[in-house]
Amino acid sequence: MSDRETVLGRVRRALADVPREERPEDVPVAGERLRGYGERTPAAAAGLLARNLADYRALVHRVSAAGLPALVAGLLAARGARTLLVPEGLPERWPAAAVAAGVRLCPDDPRATPAELDAVDSVLTGCAVAVAETGTVVLDGGPGQGRRRITLVPDHHICVVRVPGQVVDSVPQALERLDPTRPLTWISGPSATSDIELDRVEGVHGPRTLEVVLLEG
């Protein structure tokens, strides 16, 4: 007998107390769950997102569409970043001012080795959705987000969230908007560890600096 049949057979024998006619949906799952905690205006949700992100030591910036290219250029210049990873489908305008200032763009390329990604200074992406109550941005590999590894290997990640369109209140609302067949990365603040005496240290293996830009209007 294969291990598959062994395990499934054991499961069925172990459940001898479950009536034969019982279907999974016959087991009640407590009443209607809350989809979020409190009704918020879009502005309040954006404010909560910003506070919760900052609480986990992400750097949060708020900017209008017109001001975004200059902001991106400024953030890169402040770190002395010379190279910028950009995913397919990213609006060309976003890194335009940085390019004009001499930053070199590196397009997301499936053939790039991890070592090549490691040599890039910064990465600029959009996101699929952001969760206000937890201070989380979610990337799903869609346009302007790229492969999972590009927001992981470089040490500096700038992530643009469209406000209010991409902001939801809660985790359940975020799941409703996401497609589980895509690879998903939920990011709440920069890489961190609390493994040494529960002292929180930012930056272990992921980007040590996460800057979230709330793009308004």
Binding site: R23, N52, A115, V171, P180, L184, T185, W186
Partner: protein, 517 residues
């Protein structure tokens, strides 16, 4: 390395040793109290926590009562998304499968994401015997591995080590595994984390094979979920060509929507965060079985608004294996009282509130699952044949704090009492899928004799009355500690003082009609 749990002493002996270690007690007390207070604040933010908790318990109960249905469903979904599903009835089979899969890649070094399941089956040791080095990448697991130590906490495996000890381990051992510790490394946590970053980055960038566990598997979609903080998980889950995930069969949840409940409960219960820094979700290789095996671009990676990046064009491993592990879980499932232990989402909240864990430390439990949950999970997964496993249901004061804090409402005290009865009295169990009757454990003879004597005395009122009078009159002569088999009990407890008069006599004198009885 000393990773094996076989031949460990029983809990009382191991705990007695641990409680004499004042450094360990200090490290533990600091850590558990810090996280306990933070957790209470994080939980208070969600107004319907009790409702969320009962929803989680109900979803897990539904899953467990129909586990065969959900396992078949997850297998189909993962396969359809380009993954390969394997089934392992026990640890040996799981280790055999993983070893063969790694061998087939030709690699001799694999990276690991922290995984309790692979600790449980002692996969690193099995791979080592096959000439394959398994490198742990979670910072705490790295500390444990370099220190030839064992994990002592579900979430913070090196909780028993302070910063000075960690610095010493890094200085002494990092060079044996790869990049040595930087010169002049101090014990500042930021510096220690940086040393780990440099040491592991070399490995991440060249890794071809990674092994992970998973926090959840979604039956309806075949999606696997890993929750972490450092990014080592993301590194292992996205950079290598081959990913092998070893997952306990109880980790399945029915629907995508159900996942929302657990993603709210787990981080707040575990690290007391609203959300952990990173959560990764992947479904097979992202390549549906129908889309062919091509790995080049073109499977939907268009330009513009409709573009979709799929694993097929370079996002994540090209090869994904899921190993579904039983290893005692179906035996646990067969016990209608003990079954609820399989709801556990490994958050470790019960450890952080447990007065016994706080003093004894995680190693005393002799298993990757320490603390209250370990005290009920380990003797069910492994049986109670060994002295250690038979002692675990007694490693509790039954104060109930673990139940109060459990996000999936496992009634740990209820299961502890149930297992104590099994150890002391023996009875019907399922082991390795077969029904069996176990004999009372040795070493509990005195307890059984005392219980039998008590039952007889309580059934015979005259004998009870006499016994009480004798006890009262001889109270000055009673020893402070019990002789014989009772001695161990009084090692850590004071014997109750016997009053000058029994309650019955007092009642008869003050309220009765002059006649005792």
């Amino acid at each position: 390395m000393s990773g094996t749990y076989l031949g460990m002493p029983s809990f009382p002996r191991a705990a007695a040793e641990a409680t004499r270690d004042s450094t360990l007690r200090g490290n533990l007390r600091h850590a558990t109290h810090t996280i306990r207070d933070k957790r209470a604040r994080a939980v208070a933010e969600l107004a319907d926590w009790p409702r969320l908790r009962s929803a989680a318990a109900a979803i897990k109960d539904r899953t467990l009562r129909h586990l065969d249905h959900y396992l078949v469903q997850v297998e189909a979904a993962v396969t359809a998304a380009g993954g390969t599903v394997h089934w392992a009835a026990d640890a040996a089979e799981a280790n055999r499968i993983v070893t063969a899969l790694v061998r087939a890649t030709g690699e001799t070094e694999v990276l690991k994401v922290k995984s309790m399941t692979t600790q449980e089956i002692e996969l690193n040791e099995a791979l080592g015997r096959a000439g394959i080095t398994a490198c742990e990448t979670d910072l705490a697991e790295l500390i444990v591995q370099l220190g030839e130590d064992r994990p002592s906490h579900i979430l913070v495996p090196a909780i028993h080590r302070n910063r000075a000890e960690i610095r010493d381990i890094f200085r002494a051992r990092m060079a044996d595994w790869g990049r040595p510790a930087p010169d002049g490394l101090t014990d500042r946590p930021a510096e220690l984390a940086e040393a780990a970053r440099l040491h592991l980055r070399e490995k991440f960038l060249r890794a071809k094979v990674a092994i992970s566990g998973a926090n959840f598997m979604v039956a309806e979609t075949g999606t696997l979920v890993v929750v972490e903080s450092e990014g080592n998980g993301r590194m292992c889950l996205t950079l290598p060509e081959t990913l092998i995930s070893v997952v306990g069969i109880e980790k399945v949840v029915p629907t995508w929507r159900d996942l929302g409940v657990f993603l709210q409960l787990l981080p707040r219960s575990a690290t007391a965060e609203r959300m952990n820094p990173y959560t990764s979700m992947w479904t097979g290789t992202g390549m549906g079985a129908g889309t062919g095996t091509g790995t080049g671009p073109g499977t939907g990676a268009g330009t513009g608004a409709g573009a979709r990046t799929r694993a097929g064009d370079g996002d994540g491993p090209r090869i994904f294996h899921l190993v579904l592990l039983d290893n005692g879980r179906t035996d646990t499932l067969a016990d209608t009282v003990g079954r609820q232990a399989l709801r556990c989402i490994r958050c470790s909240a019960c450890l952080n509130v447990c007065p016994v864990y706080e003093r004894a430390g995680g190693h005393a439990y002799g298993s990757p699952y320490p603390g209250p949950i370990g005290a009920i999970l380990t003797p069910q997964l492994r049986g109670t044949d060994s002295e250690l496993d038979a002692s675990l249901p007694f490693a509790s004061s039954l104060c109930g704090a673990c139940y109060e804090v459990c996000p999936v409402a496992i009634d740990i005290p209820e299961v502890l009492v149930h297992l104590r009865e099994r150890v002391a009295e023996g009875g019907a169990v399922t082991r390795g899928g077969r029904k069996a009757v176990i004999r009372p454990a040795r070493g509990h003879a005195a307890e059984r004799a005392a219980m039998r004597a008590a039952r007889w005395t309580l059934d015979h009122p005259a004998a009870l009355r006499t016994a009480q009078r004798v006890a009262c009159r001889t109270r000055r002569l009673h020893p402070r500690r019990l002789p014989g088999p009772g001695r161990a009990w009084t090692d850590t407890r004071a014997l109750p003082e016997v009053p000058a008069k029994s309650f019955r006599d007092w009642w008869a004198r003050t309220r009765g009609q002059g006649r005792p009885g």
